[in-house]
């Protein structure tokens, strides 16, 4: 186990796991308390369209998926802001259309495209040094935002109507949260994959919410839990030769079940 840490790609995998878990804890908390899990799911799945676009154009996956999913986030923000009664239909449509676009674009690209499953379910051992830079930059941006604009984020999440009366630009914050969710999905694609990333955003945060008195504690606890699940999942996947992304998600799910059994009250 320990000797594996000498390999560069194992080190990268570990650092990526740590960075993405911390990002997921903060962003996931905001996504969960704003009831945007389905929205984030839509963005995550449709980002496969961005993967397809990147392969079709021959540009780096990170940039293709990044630009595409931010565009999807902007589109969904415009379509769903203050329109709760319509939003699930739109999200469902964007969800499926994005994935379909990815499939078609890859069909139209000649040649071998590598293991496409790895974008869906992650391949953490394929993380490169350069990817870590993007992850660290996003983590720093998220932490700065949360610390400098905590009150606005809290007000907008808890009671948007009142926040708006107090002069907080709620629409701007709504859009920004979706963009953050999109960027989180993009950096998490390699770690857990775009299908499983929703588990990383929602499971640790759901457990954390039960045990937190404030949004900030929820964020810190979610990050810690996500980190724990990711590291445990990585160790297990290495030990038993399993897919890392799926193992991380199953460990998280087991944590959720355990927590639910112990604290039945909620």
């Amino acid at each position: 186990m320990i000797e594996a840490l000498h390999y560069g790609f194992v080190q990268n995998a570990l650092i990526a796991g740590i960075l993405v878990s911390l990002i997921a804890g903060f962003v996931g908390s905001l996504v969960v308390v704003n009831r945007m899990v389905f929205l984030a799911g839509g963005i995550a799945h449709s980002s496969y369209g961005g993967v397809g676009l990147a392969i079709f154009l021959g540009i780096p996956i990170f940039w293709g998926a990044g630009v595409f999913s931010v565009a999807v986030a902007l589109l969904l923000a415009w379509m769903t802001y203050r329109k709760t009664h319509l939003s699930d239909t739109w999200i469902g449509a964007v969800w499926a259309a994005g994935m379909a676009l990815g499939v078609v674009l890859i069909d139209r690209t000649p040649g071998y495209h590598g293991d496409l499953m790895s974008y869906l379910f992650g391949s953490i051992l394929a993380v490169e040094r350069g990817d870590l830079g993007y992850m660290a930059a996003l983590l720093v941006a998220v932490i700065l935002l949360v610390h400098l604009r905590y009150r606005e984020l809290l007000a907008v999440s808890y009671d948007p109507e009142y926040a708006e009366l107090r002069g907080i630009p709620t629409r701007w914050y709504y859009t920004m949260l979706l963009i953050l969710a999109a960027l989180t999905v993009v950096v998490a694609i390699k770690v857990v994959g775009l299908i499983l990333v929703i588990a990383l955003l929602s499971i640790p945060t759901h457990i954390a919410r039960r045990h937190s008195a404030s949004l900030y504690t929820m964020m810190l606890l979610s990050s810690a839990l996500a980190l724990g699940f990711t590291l445990a999942g990585l160790v297990l996947s290495y030990r038993f030769d399993l897919s890392s992304g799926a193992t991380i998600v199953l460990v998280s799910a087991a944590g959720l079940v355990l927590d639910t059994l112990i604290f039945k009250r909620h």
Partner: protein
């Protein structure tokens, strides 16, 4: 100067007239209740007074200023406080949402990097307003742990935190039992010694007992001054009184007392 002064107000949604020639005058330190059927324009009137909507015709002045510029002088308590009960938020954090920006000036720049921390001025403000509503010892409790009546008082404290001169409440007791209703109304009665209170309500027995004036709003407004012409409702202890019965009561008295259409007082 009048707290609220509305003249010849007209408003329609998509050419559907909601308010037609509404006149309304509220003096400072008055406790005014707005009643009327659903769809009679009660919430629309509130939104116009708070500057969230603009009138098609007519004038609104809040302490002599247009609504948008009077926002700092208005405290607002929303209708439904039973939403988001799972939200990890303390009473203190909810009250602080009403905290005026000038209190933030007492914070040193390096402390602003942690915007979740409150400075002494802000904490003192929260404590005194929570004292006014009788919840000073619940500072650190989660909002979901409180009863409906306590939660409503937290929302009132949040509105009071900004030191408003006009307090607006939209059906503050719609989800409370008779005892909870009574407590909220006697609290509002007490508060109206220091500020003006405008409350939309269906609780007619409470309205006739506590308010100074009743405004009946159904596209247009009729004001009844309860101080000059008190209405005594004979309701068995703890029972509710239906709106229709008050309407009948008011209609029966129309011949005896003066009902000024629009203009308040007698």
């Amino acid at each position: 100067m009048k707290a609220i002064s509305v003249h010849g107000l007209r408003f329609s949604y998509d050419r559907e007239p909601v308010l037609h020639d509404v006149d309304l005058e509220v003096d400072e330190h008055e406790f005014v209740a707005v009643i009327g059927p659903n769809g009679g324009g009660k919430s629309t009137l509130l939104r116009l007074i708070m500057g969230q909507l603009r009138p098609d015709a007519g004038e609104i002045a809040i302490f002599g200023a247009p609504p948008r510029r009077a926002r700092d002088r208005i405290g607002y308590v929303p209708q439904n406080t039973n939403v988001n009960l799972q939200f990890p938020i303390r009473i203190l954090d909810v009250v602080m949402m009403g905290n005026p920006r000038k209190h933030r000036e007492a914070t040193r720049w390096w402390e602003r990097l942690f915007s979740m921390r409150y400075n002494d001025v802000e904490l003192r403000c929260a404590r005194t307003t929570l004292e006014k509503v009788g919840l000073e010892c619940a500072l650190d409790r989660r909002i979901g742990e409180l009863s409906g009546g306590q939660r409503q008082r937290v929302m009132i404290a949040r509105a009071l935190c900004a030191h408003p001169r006009l307090l607006i409440l939209d059906e503050p007791t719609s989800s409370l039992d008779a005892e909870g209703q009574k407590q909220i109304y006697s609290l509002l009665r007490e508060l109206s010694r220091d500020l003006t209170v405008l409350v939309v309500s269906h609780d007619l027995s409470a309205v006739t007992e506590y308010a100074d004036k009743v405004v009946y709003l159904n596209r247009t407004a009729y004001t009844h001054d309860l101080r000059a012409n008190p209405i005594h409702l004979h309701t068995p202890e703890g029972e509710h009184f239906c709106e229709i019965e008050l309407m009948q009561e008011l209609a029966a008295k129309t011949c005896e007392c003066e009902h000024h259409r629009g203009k308040g007082g007698t």
